[in-house]
């Protein structure tokens, strides 16, 4: 699986302050750690970059490139910032992201063609966010057709079904399953197109100490359905071990739970029990609550 490191994000105060004061160190420390942790790409989530757009983008991209010999995923809604970012990249970057919204189709997709880079296309369109696997696919297919017409081949397109928080009352768990289903049916519907998710959103709104567990289990599930790439916290050692196939016992346990096997919890370690309980929540078998490990 292609792993994209998240964390260089303007929402993080350290990153935001560093950009404002042009202080390379905090960003370079993070980028180095992400590269050492085994990231294949580094995501630069720079927001809209209203001020000094082009200069700021060049500075961020170069700051990271000075210490990490990895391709970058340029993550912004602002087409001007996107172009400046893509232009500054030494390695073939990932444009993250375009969508089925009219503005995005008209302003972002041509950039992917112009700079001959890979591009993430999300299932969002002018009507919003399609909730089910089929409607997500319909939306993506329209946008992909548009991209093909511009001369962007399927091989360059990574589809993002948009992961939503599992904890959202009533619908969160259904969304988690819809995304799983989408990843599974994608290769047949759109051959040669890759899949990508922003994984951590699955645990948005969840008590912070419990988030990694949901992220890990969901990644194992999506990986099983054929996921090509994930943007997540590469500094979580356990998730990277799972990505590298170093914890096959946990993977097996999650698969068995997902397949509906009635697993005897008394024979398991506390860590294993937690993985089973989390898999049951994400499989939609058990209703989510913040106390899911306590039940």
């Amino acid at each position: 699986m292609i792993v994209i490191a998240e964390g260089i994000h303007v929402i993080a105060k350290t990153v935001n302050d560093a950009i404002k004061s042009r202080d390379k160190k905090p960003i370079q420390d993070l980028a180095r750690a992400q590269a050492e942790a085994g990231a294949d790409y580094i995501d630069l989530n720079v927001g809209f970059v209203r001020k000094d757009t082009e200069e700021t983008m060049q500075w961020i991209v170069n700051t990271v490139q000075e210490v990490a010999d990895l391709p970058l995923s340029i993550d912004t809604m602002n087409p001007v910032a996107m172009e400046a970012g893509l232009k500054a990249c030494k390695k073939r970057p990932l444009l993250n992201s375009a969508s089925g919204k009219t503005d995005s189709k008209e302003q972002m997709l041509p950039l992917a063609k112009k700079y001959d880079c890979d591009v993430v296309i999300s299932c969002i369109n002018d009507k919003g966010m399609p909730p089910e696997a089929d409607s997500k696919l319909d939306s993506i297919m329209n946008t992909v057709a548009y991209a093909n017409e511009l001369g962007i081949p399927n091989e360059h397109i990574w589809c993002d079904p948009i992961v939503l928080p599992a904890s959202t009352a009533g619908t969160g768990q259904d969304h988690a399953l819809a995304t799983y289903e989408f990843i599974k049916i994608l290769p047949e519907a759109l051959p040669d197109i890759k899949s990508i998710v922003g994984l951590s959103n699955i645990s948005s709104g969840v008590p912070v100490e419990l988030r990694p567990l949901l992220n890990r289990v969901y990644l194992v599930m999506l990986d099983r359905s054929g996921l090509y790439s994930s943007i997540h916290d590469v500094l979580d050692e356990d998730i990277m071990k799972l990505c590298r196939g170093e914890r096959q016992n946990i993977v097996d346990l999650i698969y068995r739970t997902w397949d509906g096997e009635d697993i005897d919890l008394s024979s398991l370690s506390q860590e294993e029990v937690n993985y089973v309980k989390t898999a049951k929540v994400l499989a939609g078998e058990v209703l989510y609550s913040d106390a899911w490990l306590e039940a």
């Binding site: 009352a169 009533g170 969160g172 058990v286 209703l287 609550s289 913040d290 106390a291 306590e294 039940a295």
Partner: protein, 305 residues
Amino acid sequence: MEYSAPVEAYTGIVRPMTIGKGAKAITIGGENILPFHFFDEGSSPNPPKFALEILDMEPYDWPDFLVEPYKDVISDPVKWAGRCEELGADAVCLFLKSTDPAEKDSPADQAASLTKKVVEALNIPVIVYGSGDDKKDAEVLPKVAEACDGEKLLIGPVLKENYAVVGKAILDHGHMAIAQTPMDINLLKELNVKLCHFFPAEKIVIDPLSPALGYGIEYTFSLMERIKQLGVISKDSMTQMPMIANFGGEVWKTKQAKESKEQGLLWEGMTAMCLLLAGANILVLRHPDNIKLVKETIGGEIWQK
């Protein structure tokens, strides 16, 4: 071609619960079918119960036609409770409104002794609701539980902010708890999970909050429906509790209900019907005429199969 209607048989059951002791007791819950799905296999052995609400202080914002049935006793909660029993209530729901710091902030001891008098005066069980102020309730409800030791009252609201203190007092004195969360299935489950670390699940009633018709009732309808489905179909142990719909305060503050007696009665009655269809097991009403109206509407015999 002959058509045969599909018949479902579910394996989950809503835990039955008995409120009140001895001859006073009533039982709610116990169903293993969805609400009014009498065509499926299984039964709903305990028809919904109807409580009438009284306050521990004279209400100042009730329309005249709502006060009317209680006019001569409304300044005396014990007599008011007795009137509710005469008018056919299955239970009395005593709302300790005066203890609210935003009202009279009356002391816990006063609330406890009044509750005890009400309980002693009645031949039907008593439900007690604190003001909903989590800190004040943490003082008031334990005193109420202690004063009425062993009476098997239904006491709430038990909230995520005070469940440890309030839940413990309810358990120690042999009562039942109303676990209340603000219209969210995940929060509701979380509170039940945490409460059940020390409190038996069979002594919990769920209160998901019940808005009035026209004021968001569809949220509670979907929520109650989901709770019941999870309990009966999916056997989620943390949702297999009976549910209480307590909407008197919500209904009777609407301008529609206050406008005329006929409209007010229907507003409360329709709210009641909606929430019964969603799966409520016990309802708290304010107008006594609605007990008859709603009972007639849902029928009697059908519940006896």
